[in-house]
Amino acid sequence: MPKDGGIGAPTRRREDVRFLTGTGQYCDDMNMFGQTAAVFARSTVANGVIKSIDTTAAAAMPGVLAIFTGEDFVDVGGNPAGWLINSRDGEPMKEPKRPVLAHGKVRHVGDAYAAVIAETVEQAKDAVEAIEVDIEELPAIVNMKDALSSTNYVHDEIGTNQCFDWGWIEDNRAATDAAIKGAHHVTTLELVNNRLVPNAMEPRCSMAQYNRANDEYTLHTTSQNPHLTRLLISAFVLGIPENKLTVIAPDVGGGFGSKIYHYGEEALVLAAAKKLGRPVKWTADRTEAFLTDAHGRDHVTKIELALDEEGNFLAFRTETLANVGAYLSNFATATPTFLHGTLMAGNYTVPNVYVNVKAVFTNTAPVDAYRGAGRPEATFSLERVIDKAAREIGMDPIALRRKNFIKPDQYPFASAAGLEYDSGNYDALMDQMEKVADVAGFEARRKESEKKGKLRGFGVNAYIEACGIAPSNLVGVLGSRVGLYDAATVRVNATGNLSVMVGAHSHGQGHETAFPQVVAEMLGIDPQSIDIVHGDTSKIPFGMGTYGSRSLAVCGSAVVRATEKIINKAKKIAAHMLEASDGDIELKDGVFSVAGTDKSVTFGEVALKAYIPHEFPLEDIEPGLEETAFYDPANFTYPSGAYCCEVEVDPDTGKVTVESMTAVDDFGNVINPMIVTGQVHGGLGQGIGQALLENTTYDENGQLLSASYMDYVMPRADDVPFYGVDHSKGTACTHNPLGVKGCGEAGAIGSPPTVVNAVIDALQSGGKNVTHIDMPMTPHRVWSAMQNV
């Protein structure tokens, strides 16, 4: 066993020390000799034709080194969509080009049409103001329903604002329609899954360097997946050969999806660095982050649930409009489809599911995956309509869910939405939730709240998500243009310590602590002798990065496979050293021994031998001890959970306070419970934010009204309670070596409907027959809902 902290230990994070002492190195903390500054000229209108851009005056200003416009990039490629969706009629989705800088038209407020490179940021800002631009403003396309019937197009060349009209599963449509038509009861709900701005606390930053001597580029950038960024830049946008481009994502201050994607600013600084022969750095301010980071969610959905007389679910049918914004971000088309439609059977044995999603271009910032990505939208629709149905048929909401849960003996379970769930036990989670949250004591607490003049409500939710993204074979069939495996190299150094190069990127997830726990457990050595290397394409074989709760399930599996290879080779070396056969060598507590004897060598001795191969059987064993594995999962993983919360509503003001929030999750096996709990906490905070606070608002002209922390309501410490988190009832994933499922997004998936359900319960208990309030349930909205019944 490892000396401290193998699998299952709540090991304290080693990366904390640098963050707590101010010695972390985030992108903007780095500066290079000769560095210049890039500042972007951004559209102040949502939709307009660029008539002319005159940079003459700006170019003559002090310190200005270069100015770029869209004209400079007409010959390079566009930033592509990574997932091809075909419409119900078989037509491929519309994919208008997303240029490095806007050319011809600007399509959302914040769309960059020029960039100034100057000696200092302030000089560049001065010059941006001096650019004379003539943009003819056009009416903005903001509302999705209007966009679909309009002849005013975000992209004139495609002649429509509809990206695709997708049906899932098209063959189930008729059966679903029939089930709804013939049902005893149908509950219908129209709802909005509100647009969110990810708001990683570190704004995006990109710094490029060009080395003329060997025609090599280095890009430091705030990325969740540097290899993917490199691939996109190399294969699609600038055409820089991959072997001439190094992408480094150093310490990154949160991502939540927004830093998965390649953005035009990265291409711009690379091109500028080459042109000037000097490093070029750009750092977003918060307003730029609001205007240009890929946003999340923004679905408008109608969902119907059909039930029989006993409350058995017969069918779910949904129609969704999904906003993709002005341009297709890299995973924008996967998020509302295969990360959403495939989850629309939830945790239930429902036999019929049909999902229709129309993706719509609008003059707003691009929308893509944000923590949960499609799965929160699915869960929200399902769990809200189930709650409404429970009220309508007079059934307890927990009992109704339990009645329809897939039971433990039904796995593997083929869901009506096309996935095969491998493991789970939803009743056990619900049992644990009822216990941890003291659900039985709720009515007494409600009475206490009433005494204070507050309406107390209880809300419940059960979710399932598909994580461990993703099996390449499956997603390839579904339209993915990339594989979604991951890779790791385990390098045992001669002196017995290890460097483990991983394709996942840690920007808060604690990989530097958790991955060594896995390797240490397998090798029986001290985790402190193992370092993780991540975020640098020149050091790591390959990787698809961190998102979709995939790091441990996919990259962690690659680490396991590479470590197994190390063990196999080390056993051969040990066998040679001990003059035994490979098959007789056992590894325990970091010592290789010959079974049934007292002959042994330590792991460190084997490592040294690998690099000093005197008297080595070179015909059988190569020197060195380094192994690489690529791991491609056999299936998604399926974390699930049972959540509940209690809220108080102030009937005088409509203000909602979350009094308690309990999350019981099945993450399969857990490597570091402290980190897992922290991941859930973070998701819960974001989910409460979505439910109650976060209010992305575009006006009819496409101006983002909530473009700073003066108006966009970020959850603060006094907006949230302590959370009750439990992951003791996990059922192991059956198809990856660690039996893990992934935990990064659960909190953000499970909590929003929980909070809404609780608020509705509170209002109902106060005699207000409110059946739905759209998120965020601001005091104003809750108060208004109470007035209108």
Binding site: T287, Y709, Y712, D719, T778
Partner: protein, 260 residues
């Protein structure tokens, strides 16, 4: 930010002299001005920092009047405690770090329609003291971001007569943490004054109907049936004019209950 020079006079006379330059602008704690400068929405040639002016520091109490120097921070007012409702108000402005820089002089001079101090000054019947004169709060707050101050005039102190009873209720705008609606109620021997912030396009203002009712009967019940018109109230993404009108009544009741 555009480039500018910054001066830190040590005396009021130096500050006044420096501000006589028409391209100069006063800088209090900077908690509003600096974000404005960052957005390049202002372009002063010179900022005159008032944080070093000795005459504008300090809090003193005499004859039932609390005098707070224009350069006194919200944090200092919060911990003073001699006018509890005012200290409570100060302790809920912005956040702790903002309170350690932001000053009462800067706040009243800026007269943000959602700021807290103007409500306290107006309800308390405070007097705004400048380098040139004394101005009654009733005359000082002219409209949204508008005051009776002349160019270059500096708020050197605010004098608060301490009421018999007072309380401030703030319903926060959850992002900025300014007041979505804030109501300050002050009861003195002369009657009751009610000042409302956050609600109106005209900025801070008094609610005379409530004052009249409360002067007769200082109880929440006295407000029953009273409401304010939503006309001319602020409507934004955080709340409609009707909602703000409703909140004015709710916050006023709560302030009376808390003060009584």
């Amino acid at each position: 930010m555009y480039a500018f020079d910054i001066e830190r006079p040590a005396t009021l006379a130096e500050a006044v002299a420096a501000l006589s330059n028409e391209d100069a602008q006063a800088l209090g704690g900077g908690q509003t001005l600096i974000p404005t400068l960052k957005q390049r929405l202002a372009s002063p040639e010179k900022l005159i920092s008032l944080t070093g002016v000795a005459e504008m520091k300090g809090i003193s109490s005499s004859g039932g009047v609390l005098t707070i120097g224009g350069g006194v921070t919200h944090g200092e007012v919060a911990s003073d405690g001699s006018y509890k409702a005012l200290s409570d108000l100060a302790s809920n402005i912005g956040d702790p770090a903002v309170r350690n820089r932001g000053t009462i002089g800067g706040s009243v001079a800026n007269n943000d329609p959602s700021a807290c101090y103007p409500a306290a000054a107006l309800a308390s019947g405070a007097t705004i003291v400048t380098n040139a004169r004394e101005i009654a709060a009733d005359d000082f707050f002219v409209g949204m971001f508008e005051t009776a101050l002349d160019e270059g005039e500096i708020v050197t102190a605010v004098k608060f007569p301490i009421p018999e009873k007072a309380n401030y209720q703030k319903f926060v705008q959850p992002a900025s943490r300014f007041a979505l609606v804030g109501v300050f109620v002050a009861k003195t021997a002369d009657g009751v004054r009610v000042a409302v912030t956050g609600a109106s396009n005209e900025g801070v203002h008094r609610w005379s109907a409530a004052e009249e009712a409360l002067s007769k009967d200082f109880s929440a019940k006295a407000l029953d049936g009273l409401s304010v018109s939503a006309d001319d109230l602020i409507a934004d993404l955080h709340g409609s004019a009707e909602y703000r009108a409703h909140l004015v009544a709710v916050m006023t009741k709560r302030a009376v209950e808390a003060a009584a």
